[in-house]
């Protein structure tokens, strides 16, 4: 064993460069999780593809979507659903880190505090973009067409990615509260499931009872899906885009602050 030089000093964490290098290292680690556990990616892709097939060919005929064929109506919604369910993994991963003592190790290192959370949420952002590209490819094979053109498609994907990133912060906060990966999985799904259905993802909301329609109307999911649908199909976007952005920014600011506070205190 080489002699340990006891007096070796490292500078205290400082500067943007260190923070960025920590975030890159942690994001890479987060992405390696999906490379090493490909089943996480496979299942998070199979489920929406099944939904896409089932809803299009089983329910599609019975659902009236004025102005759009059902596949073109559904794809934007399914993509938003993909990132919502995908964001659950952010909390699961953090809860796992807590259980296995990784958070204790990270906290004892001279690294940027924010990098642990940023690494997870950014890795899940990259993962979401990959799954989205895969889903759009499948959708194109099934006959989906983006009438809004390539720019519309790109803008729509950017909006979905941002939306998923915001939801990752909610999920991070859940993961840090429940501190157990199985619970994080359940707690992450249980509240979004009704929200996903009570929105414009699968059906036009004006067929819902008035009370539910009123709820679905203000749901962040509905305004985001409506914006994505408008961008992809080239129809007027209306007020949806700014409502979606307000939701996204609001969720991101509030839940990233909450998650950071929780991370500081968590043991």
């Amino acid at each position: 064993m080489q002699p340990i030089t006891p007096a070796q000093k490292h500078a205290a964490p400082q500067g943007l460069q260190w923070i960025i290098s920590d975030i890159i290292a942690m994001t890479r680690r987060g992405l390696l999780r999906y490379v090493r556990l490909p089943q996480l990616l496979v299942f998070s892709t199979i489920q929406p593809i099944l939904f896409l097939l089932l809803f299009t060919y089983v329910f599609g005929g019975a659902i009236k979507t004025p102005g759009l064929n059902y596949l073109n109506f559904l794809v934007p919604g399914i993509l938003v659903q993909v990132v919502i369910f995908g964001s659950v993994q952010t909390g699961v991963g953090l809860a796992e880190d807590l259980n296995k003592g990784m958070i204790d190790r990270f906290k004892s290192l001279p690294m940027a505090r924010s990098a642990v959370l940023m690494g997870r949420t950014l890795a899940d952002l990259v993962r979401n973009i990959l799954v989205m590209v895969l889903m759009i490819t499948v959708a194109f094979i099934m006959g989906f067409r983006a009438e809004g053109g390539f720019m519309g498609l790109l803008l729509a994907m950017a909006l979905i990615a941002l939306f998923g990133f915001a939801f990752s912060w909610i999920s991070a906060s859940i993961g840090l509260s429940v501190k157990n990966s199985e619970t994080a999985q359940v707690a992450g799904f249980i509240w979004v499931f009704p929200l996903v259905f009570a929105s414009s993802i699968f059906v036009p909301i004006d067929t819902m009872p008035a009370w539910l329609e009123a709820f679905a109307n203000i749901s962040p999911i509905t305004v985001t899906v409506n914006s994505v649908r408008a961008l992809m199909s080239g129809t007027p976007i209306g007020d949806n885009w700014w409502q979606a952005l307000i939701w996204i920014v609001g969720i991101m600011v509030n839940f990233s602050t909450l998650a950071v506070l929780q991370y500081r205190k968590v043991k």
Binding site: Q2, I4, T5, P6, H10, R33, K100, L109, P110
Partner: protein, 307 residues
């Protein structure tokens, strides 16, 4: 000599649970200090405070000359921590685990690579370097965990129950690795529930119980505090009263159920022939006689059962 770890009157409570109630001690450079105590004594809380994971309610502590509460960031770049659970990322290979921690210590990339390879060799993990840690045995995980805590060449290494759950062979290997580190100047503070471990490894032992330091010193000093040991005489049960009578001047203690009479050894071995002469004179049959040195176990029990 200036202490590397200095702990002064630390208090920490979780609600109504008082984990630490005025702990103080110091550790010299290059020493291995064993923090010994029963479950719930406050060992992990203390480690968490010294590694900047927790803030104390009251009191101060310095690690490598730096106040842990005032400048935690500077402390973090000088310490290594291997916590109670082996903190390895199962989805990464052994090498990737080490390189991740090295990068987070902000070592130059070249040094991260070299150091990782060196540690993999030193902890006999080079054959498994490119395998995911989920395929590792418990002992290998622990070694990888300790190796990770060393990648930044820490001045002070904190090990929280490092050998819990390890088989005897892995435990011995880890002990040797820790010894080597201390020989090379790294200061090691480890917590343990195993007295044997503290006895073998630690230059100094700090015993804590109910959040307070109840004793400290070398294993030898601690053993000396409870005297020179005991002489145990085994005899058929019916002989116990007669034996106690015969040995009355030595302050005997009788366990009638087991047929054992114990007498404290105060002034060395000469008590043995004296006792035998008395037993012989009284014509009592005995089945066995043993002289036992005090163990750290007895020190520990006598200290932590006081209340």
């Amino acid at each position: 000599m200036e202490p590397v770890i200095l702990v002064e009157d630390i208090y920490k409570s979780y609600g109504t649970v008082h984990a630490l109630e005025g702990v103080g001690f110091q550790v010299h450079r290059g020493a291995i200090v064993g923090l010994l105590g029963p479950n719930g004594a406050g060992k992990t809380t203390l480690i968490n405070i010294l590694t900047t994971l927790l803030k104390p309610d009251k009191g101060r502590a310095w690690v490598a000359g730096i106040d842990v509460a005032q400048n935690p960031a500077a402390v973090r770049s000088r310490i290594g921590l291997a916590g109670q659970f082996a903190a390895v990322d199962e989805n990464l290979t052994g090498k990737e685990n080490l390189e991740l921690v090295g990068t987070l210590y902000h070592l130059p990339p070249k040094q991260v690579k070299d150091r990782a390879e060196q540690l993999l060799r030193e902890f006999s993990l080079d054959d498994a370097a490119n395998r995911q840690a989920k395929t590792y045995s418990g002992g290998m995980r622990r070694r990888l965990d300790v190796a990770s805590s060393l990648i930044g060449r820490p001045e002070v290494l904190f090990l929280d129950e490092p050998t819990t759950g390890l088989d005897p062979q892995s435990r011995m290997e880890l002990w040797q690795a820790i010894r080597k580190l201390a020989n090379n100047g790294t200061t090691v503070l480890l917590t343990t529930q195993y007295l044997e471990e503290a006895d073998y490894l630690a230059d100094a032992i700090v015993i804590i119980d109910h959040g307070k330091v109840v004793a400290q010193g070398t294993a030898k000093e601690l053993k000396a505090t409870i005297g020179g040991g005991v002489l145990k005489i085994h005899t058929p049960k019916q002989n116990v009263p007669a034996l106690v009578q015969a040995l009355s001047e030595f302050n005997p203690h009788a366990d009638t159920a087991l047929g054992i009479v114990t007498i404290p050894v105060k002034e060395g071995i000469k008590i043995l022939p004296e006792a035998i002469r008395k037993i012989d004179a009284a014509n009592i049959t005995i089945s066995d006689i043993e002289l036992s040195k005090p163990t750290l176990d007895e020190v520990f029990t006598s200290l932590t059962n006081k209340k």
